[in-house]
Each structure stands twice: as structure tokens, then as C-alpha cells.
Amino acid sequence: MTSFLRVVGAVARKDLRTELRSREMLPALGQFVVLALLIAFFGFDVETGGLKIAPGVLWLTVTFAGLVAFGRTFAAERDQASLEPLLLTPASRSAIFAGKALAAALVLAACEAVLVPAMGVFFNTTVFSLELAGALVLATIGMAGLGCLFAALAAQTRARDLLLPVLALPLWIPFVVVGGRAVQVALGGGGEVNGALALLLDFDILFVVVASLAARFVLDD
């Protein structure tokens, strides 16, 4: 267990340090988030139906930002030919995978930290609430598990940019549906939010366990 956590920590730290120094994704994702909101602001009637469309805009933005954030996790290793040395260590495949998923989830969380206040500005309302934060955190964990698994799979193909959305999006639908409901409730849409959050937690447990087990085979040649 100690060695598992040591590898998870080392891989996540390495990925985050690399991102902070190379600034490959974070500035672009932050820009993407603001642009997506800008398009939504001009494309929809925010004045009258703002709160109704807010969950949809939020999850669309999170979904596409996630595709970019998770897609780079293994593609970057491939591009710099560092995946082979990484996998030729005796470190557990599941631990390597968990470390990369953790780092990618934190990058997406950083995007969400830009997205939520920006939504408040564009939609002229207080968007932040504990329920919203809970829904975002839970959905991000599950989406990171599945997204990184498919990113590892897609990185082994030439059409990885195309393959990742095709594989990941259908399985992210539960997170978008339940997360959308949780956000709607959190924004004062009525109803009960705990059920949606509990369902998101169930999805997390299921998909994180499945992804960790499958990663052992995906990361093997």
C-alpha cells in the first residue's frame, strides 16, 4: 500500500510540476472556458432563461475541457517517448494510472475554479454553492477515471484525438445527467440534491474501480 501511494504521489507530482512549468494546458483551458461562456452568452437568451441553461452550459464546458485535459495525460508521454521508460519500472500499473488520473483531475478542477466564478459573471447570479462544488468534485473524479483509461487506450493509436471523445463521451453521460440535475437543484431549481450526489458517488466508486483494474491491461503491451 505504501509503495502504491508513493508511486501515485510521484506520478501526480511529476505531471503537475510538468504542467506548471510548461504551461501547456492550463492557460489554454482557462481561455477555452471563458470563450465557451462567451459563446453561450451570445448564443442563448441568458436574460430570461439563464438559470435553466446554466447546468447545460456548465457540463458542456466541463466535458470538452475534460477531453483536452485527460487526452494529454498519455499523449504527452507518447510524444516525448517517456512512456516506455515509465512502464519499464516495476511500479504498479494501477498506481501509475491513478497518479496520472489524479493530476488530470486536479487540472480539470483548476478549470472549474475559473468556470464557476466566470459563470456567475456571465449569468449575473451567484452560482457557487457547496452542493455545486460537491457535484463538480464527484463528477470530476469519475470522469477522470474513465477519461484517463480511454486516453491511455487512445494514445496507442494514431487517431487518438478522434478516438478519445468517441470512447469517453457515451460513458460520461451518467455524470452529465446526474451532475446537471445536482447543479440545477443547487442553483435553486427545486428538488433534493443529496440523491443526485449519492448517485454520483456510486458512479465514482464503480468507474474508478473498473478503470483501475482495466488500466493494468491497457498499460501492458
Binding site: 508511486v7 511529476k14 510540476r17 517517456s82 521508460p85 519500472t89 516495476p90 503491451d221
Partner: protein
């Protein structure tokens, strides 16, 4: 004890056979230079020995362990430097080694010591992406030696190395069980007792 035993070892990519069938035997403590023209299968053989790929056919045992099934155990005992070093360009040379210390479960204090050994102590805080090719190759050698492996598998480790670097390479691999691919027959004769020419499929003894 046998370090490597291969019987009928083959590798195919699709319908094309790129290596073998090959018979190979190497004692622990012995050294083998893999020679041959471009495309003769040197990298393929080294990747099989490093457990980076599974053979399409035949049997490969390293230290008596099956190279297809007992790969995790073997990876603790093999140090590999591929044809592309594959460092993390945004991390410093020291951070690159410390990261691999964590993955191998060895103490981080080994990283600066190895940097010293390969003559990179003065650039330890420099990002790997800013190192010259020869320095990158030295860093790759340090990474391959990090966990004190029993078998060293090096794919053209002399590429990009200056005379000092080649001298260093000679010192670093001295007395170790070594398989390395090169185009330099003189270096091969200096470092190894045996050579395997994959173009001619001939096993020779240098001395």
C-alpha cells in the same frame, strides 16, 4: 548462472518476421555486443530482453524467469536505455532521476550520486530539455543504473557521446552483465567478450 537463454526467439510485426528464430545464451557477468545493419533487428532484440515487448514465438528466459510472464520481477533486475532516452524535458536532470527512484522504490539519495558518476552533477538543476544530446544520453545511462540492475540492456548508448563519454561508458559497464547494440565494432570489442551479428546471424567471441 545463465543471465539470458533464448530458444527459437522470434518477433513478427504483422506477417513480417523482423527477428529470428534466434538461439542465444549469455552467462551472468558476461557481455554481448549486438551488431548488424539498420533494420537487422537490434532494437527489437533489445526491447525483448528489456521486457518492453513480448516475443511472437520461441522462449526467452532471463535469470531463469520467463520474460513474458514474470516481467515485473525482471524489471527490478534489468536496466534499459532505449534508442530514444525519453526524459521529461520540463523536469531538471535531478528531478528526472528522483522520479525514477520513487518508481523503483530506491532512496532518492541515489539520484545525485549517479549524476556525479555520469559527470552531470554540474547540470543537475538544469531542465532535461535544455541538455545536449550527449548529456541526455549520460542522463539515460544514470537512469538505467539507478536501481543497481543485474543486467544492463543498452541500445546504442554511445550515440551522441564524446570521447570522455565513451570512456565513462566503458567504466560504468565494467564487470556488469551487459547486452548492448552498436554500430561501432571497436567499442563493441572493448566492452564485450561476445558479439552477435544479426545481419549474418553469427555469434563471435572477441577475445
Amino acid at each position: 548462472m545463465k543471465a539470458i537463454e533464448a530458444r527459437g526467439l522470434r518477433q513478427r510485426f504483422g506477417s513480417r518476421t523482423v527477428l529470428g528464430p534466434l538461439e542465444l545464451s549469455l552467462d551472468a557477468g558476461d557481455s554481448l555486443a549486438v551488431l548488424g545493419e539498420n533494420g537487422s533487428g537490434k532494437t527489437t532484440l533489445l526491447r525483448l530482453l528489456a521486457t518492453a515487448a513480448r516475443p511472437s514465438g520461441g522462449e526467452l528466459r532471463i535469470f531463469g524467469l520467463d520474460a513474458s510472464r514474470e516481467r515485473t520481477e525482471l524489471r527490478r533486475r534489468i536496466g534499459y536505455l532505449g534508442d530514444v532516452a525519453g526524459h521529461y524535458p520540463a523536469l531538471t536532470a535531478l528531478e528526472n532521476l528522483e522520479f525514477f527512484c520513487d518508481l523503483h522504490g530506491v532512496e532518492r539519495a541515489r539520484a545525485p550520486r549517479l549524476l556525479e558518476q555520469v559527470g552531470l552533477a554540474h547540470v543537475g538543476r538544469r531542465r532535461a530539455g535544455e541538455l545536449s544530446r550527449g548529456m541526455g544520453q549520460r542522463l539515460g545511462l544514470a537512469r538505467a543504473l539507478l536501481h543497481a540492475p543485474e543486467l544492463l540492456v543498452l541500445d546504442e548508448p554511445d550515440a551522441g557521446l564524446d570521447d570522455d563519454g565513451r570512456e565513462l561508458l566503458t567504466k560504468l559497464v565494467e564487470g556488469k552483465t551487459l547486452v548492448f547494440a552498436t554500430h561501432d565494432r571497436e567499442l563493441a570489442a572493448r566492452l564485450c567478450r561476445h558479439s552477435l551479428d544479426l545481419s549474418r546471424r553469427a555469434l563471435e567471441v572477441f577475445r
